[in-house]
């Protein structure tokens, strides 16, 4: 079976190379057989998927059958590894994950080529671009990191999977992330294809919108699942640590988010074409860059589970992609001329523009922070670390500003918004936000009284007289201030979204003669994109509320013998029992702790410490009692060697559940936005065409049809 896998990998490379070379020839040549050859290239591209799928199946088969003659299987599995994790071995190591990337890319390519009738010529161009990417990854898998490498001697058992990866979410987190990363190749392929062939109109955006949204959805799921995995596995009570690899996954997400917004300006008004083309190029390049960071060891990261010298492959590929994009951008620059201009500074266009500038600013600033250690090493000769203090100082104000735009943007009209319209749309949500702020202050969230300071005001670098003057304002940039602002803005945006649904629902209610909720349902069905977008925005707001809760985290650590008590927040933990267990895959020590609140029994928690036999690596099994208000997060840290007493760490994380709920809402909203409108269920996407003018009249051109 490994032989078949290895052969199929090579065969897939040949097929994709054929698809790439013959595809280019067929598109460039005016020869009579060009179209028939182009068809063979399309079919070769589809066959690539079958060849890569067989190869991936061969590797999975080897993992399931404990074929330790393969170095990859030996290093990432063992006999007692549960079956689900053996399947996950496909993406647990470097060679396997590259094969997995190639598999997903070929699967996306298969669907794209299968649906070629949507626009045969554009799809042919996009197919060639995808084939070019595929050639790179298949060459890399075949010659840079082949997962079918054979051992000289066969060992009886494998070395096992990294314990950090033995967690249910690890079975789905990397595939989601990869689906997102790889999925960005499709809009990139369409974008580059449209630029190369000077595609008239914006139909390519209609075609790629769903692809982009699907890739964005997968990337969102991958990032959040990664956060959830870190929360449940790493045992430090957090979900985001600004690790370089985490940032690497976040960067394409930011640029894709910017693209999804700015592309609306191109669709509606034929504006920002150059910007959009580069946004999609950058998104793709950043997704490749993310893989480079994960796999090359360019920066230190706890996520870099596999490192090697394949970085040079990625540098070359990134450079080639950049040059190709730049070349066609310059060559066809005139094709990207905007068809309209900004009519007013207070308009939907300007809000999108601002949104894009802020998102791109965040993207560049985070990228600079990630790469700054390398720059410092180059300039000063030593490496430094850039971690949470820097990224949080940037992310918080950016996040708050974007939250504000989330509320304001959708209610501004295209072209121009009158003051009366602003007053009409924003008055009620603004009043609601002020009421929420007053309630929060009344409940005790008074930043000025809580005595904390934040990251921006570095007093010791200011003149002493200014320091003295400004000292009373030190609370302004504290976490409490940001939390109060975030919750107030969240209320504002929720108010706006609710008002939008309510108003639209009321109008339909009268028309349809149904109740308000039924009307809201039909409202959403009739314009899934708009109202799905509102649901996504609502999900993002809920996520922000979850993030804001981190300000109030509490933690405590103490030795706890039998009957010992720990008080944290409103909770009281009592040590009931300590046990040990021996299972085929690991040995474990666990604590049995009863949890009480105000003297009332709540539940029993079982935090554990496990040691995996194959790798002899220890790992936490965190116990979490989750409520909408807060999580009680308990870690069994092991025994104190001096006293032989178990050490328990407990953390109270307020509002963290809202983070996961917000994610589910975001997923739901994106799915809603992907569904076709109820009224347009049967209307296919049509090629933009010139509307015939009557004699004496000027022909009307659809937006985007200008050359």
């Amino acid at each position: 079976m490994p032989l078949i896998g290895s052969f199929c990998l090579l065969f897939a490379l040949v097929l994709s190379a054929y698809c790439f070379v013959v595809g280019i020839w067929a598109l460039a040549s005016g020869h009579p057989v060009a179209s028939r050859l182009g068809e063979t290239a399309r079919r070769a591209g589809m066959a690539t998927f079958i060849a890569v799928a067989v190869s991936a199946l061969a590797l999975v088969w080897a993992a399931l059958n404990n074929d330790f003659s393969l170095a990859y299987i030996l290093h990432h599995t063992n006999r007692d590894l549960p079956t689900a994790y053996k399947l996950a071995a496909l993406w647990s190591g470097q060679e396997g994950s590259l094969l997995f990337w190639a598999l997903l890319l070929s699967a996306y390519g298969f669907v794209l080529r299968l649906r070629y009738k949507v626009d045969p010529r554009l799809t042919a161009y996009a197919s060639v671009v995808l084939a070019g990417i595929q050639v790179f990854f298949l060459a890399l898998v075949n010659f840079g990191g082949n997962p079918f490498g054979v051992m000289d001697t066969v060992r009886a058992d494998g070395l096992g999977l990294n314990p950090l990866l033995q967690y249910p979410e690890m079975v789905i987190h990397p595939p989601m992330l990869y689906l997102g990363y790889v999925g960005m190749s499709v809009p990139f392929a369409f974008g580059l294809a449209a630029l190369i062939m000077k595609y008239p109109g914006e139909k390519w955006i209609h075609i790629t919108r769903r692809w982009t949204m699907v890739a964005w959805l997968f990337l969102t799921c991958g990032i959040i699942l990664g956060g959830h995995w870190a929360y449940g596995v790493l045992g430090w009570g957090g979900y985001w640590g600004w690790d370089p690899v985490e940032i690497a996954s976040f960067l394409p997400w930011i640029s894709a988010t910017a693209f999804l917004h700015s592309v609306m300006m191109q669709e509606k008004r034929g504006m920002m074409k150059k910007w959009n083309v580069w946004l999609i190029f950058i998104t793709f390049l950043l997704s490749i860059f993310g893989t480079l960071l994960t796999r090359s060891g360019l920066v230190q990261s706890v996520h870099a589970f596999a490192q090697s010298n394949i970085g040079v492959w990625f540098y070359i590929f990134l450079a080639v992609c950049f040059v190709v994009c730049g070349f066609f951008f310059i060559k066809n620059y005139s094709h990207l001329k905007s068809e309209n201009t900004l009519d007013s500074l207070v308009s939907r266009e300007s809000s999108f523009l601002l949104n894009n500038v802020v998102l791109l600013f965040a993207c560049i600033a985070f990228l600079c922070g990630t790469l700054f250690p390398i720059l410092t090493e180059f300039v000063k000769g030593y490496k430094i670390s850039v971690g949470p203090p820097y990224f949080n100082a940037l992310a918080v104000p950016i996040g708050l500003f974007l939250l504000f735009l989330t509320g304001v943007g959708p209610l501004l009209a295209w072209r121009m918004t009158s003051f009366a319209s602003i007053r009409r749309n924003f008055a009620a949500p603004a009043v609601f936000a002020v009421v929420v702020a007053i309630v929060l202050i009344a409940l005790g969230l008074r930043p000025w009284a809580l005595g904390a300071t934040g990251p921006f005001l570095h007093w010791d670098y200011l003149p002493s007289w200014l320091t003295r003057t400004l000292k009373p304002l030190a609370w302004v940039d504290s976490d409490y201030s940001f939390t109060l602002t975030a919750l107030t803005l969240a209320a504002f945006v929720i108010g706006i979204i609710a008002l939008e649904f309510y108003r639209g629902g009321r109008v339909l209610q009268h028309k349809l003669g149904t109740n308000l909720f039924g009307a809201m349902y039909w409202l959403t069905r009739r314009n899934t994109r708009r109202y799905g977008g509102y649901i996504v925005h609502f999900g993002v707001v809920v996520i922000m509320v979850g993030l804001a809760g981190a300000t109030f985290n509490k933690d405590k650590e103490q030795e706890m013998g039998l009957g010992s008590k720990m008080q944290i927040g409103n909770y009281e933990l009592i040590g009931q029992k300590y046990t040990e267990d021996d299972l085929p895959n690991y040995e474990s020590q666990a604590a049995i702790l009863d949890v009480y609140q105000h003297g009332k029994f709540l539940s029993t928690l079982y935090p554990a410490l496990v040691v995996y036999k194959a790798s002899q690596q220890p790992d936490h099994k965190v116990a979490i009692r989750s409520t909408l208000k807060e999580d009680l997060y308990v870690v069994y840290e092991g025994k104190n060697p001096d006293t032989d007493q178990p050490i328990i760490k407990a953390i109270v994380n307020p509002l963290v559940s809202w983070l996961w709920i917000g994610w589910l809402i975001t997923v739901f909203g994106t799915l809603v936005a992907l569904v076709p409108n109820a009224a347009q269920l049967k209307s296919p996407v049509s090629m933009p065409s010139l509307i015939q003018a009557r004699p004496g009249e000027r022909a009307f051109e659809p937006v985007g049809a200008a050359k």
Binding site: W236, T341, L353, P389, Y390, H458, R503, L609
Partner: protein, 148 residues
């Protein structure tokens, strides 16, 4: 009198402890554990960590020895190397990373200003259009019916 003095001493020591806790939390969040786990020092809790306990003790000692926060961080830099501190310094070359976002934001805003100015100058001037009373009536009715 003795009680008042005792209360004052107690209060001032409580204030000092609170200030020390703030410094401990602030600086502890700027230092990473040296064992290679990549976690922030005061959050590092992985089993059998050979470094974090000793480093936390060193942090406490350094807080007592140095009144300036930068001196505490410099002590850690000298002892463990430059990468131990995860908050870039606000001196020398490392200041660049703090200034860069400000420069980027300024450039972004400048570009935004230039782009919007260019767009607006390119926009065809819109003449004052006489509002058709019938059309305005219809618009009012539409607004009323849609409550917008």
């Amino acid at each position: 009198m003795k009680r008042i003095l005792l209360a004052l001493v107690l209060c001032s020591s409580l204030v000092a402890i609170a200030a020390d806790d703030d410094r401990y939390s602030d600086l502890g969040n700027k230092i990473q554990c040296s064992c290679g786990c990549g976690q922030i020092l005061i959050k590092c809790n992985h089993v059998g960590c050979p470094s974090s306990d000793a480093m936390i003790r060193q942090l406490r000692t350094a807080l007592n020895n140095y009144s300036n926060d930068e001196d505490v961080l410099n002590w850690f830099r000298r002892s463990y190397g430059m990468t131990i501190v995860v908050a870039p310094s606000t001196h020398g070359f490392e200041l660049t990373i703090w200034i860069l976002p400000i420069v980027l934001a300024a450039v972004g805003l400048l570009l935004l200003f230039l782009v919007t100015r260019r767009w607006r100058s390119e926009a065809a001037p819109v003449g004052v259009v006489q509002i058709d009373p019938k059309l305005e009536e219809l618009r009012k009715r539409a607004r009323k019916e849609t409550e917008l």
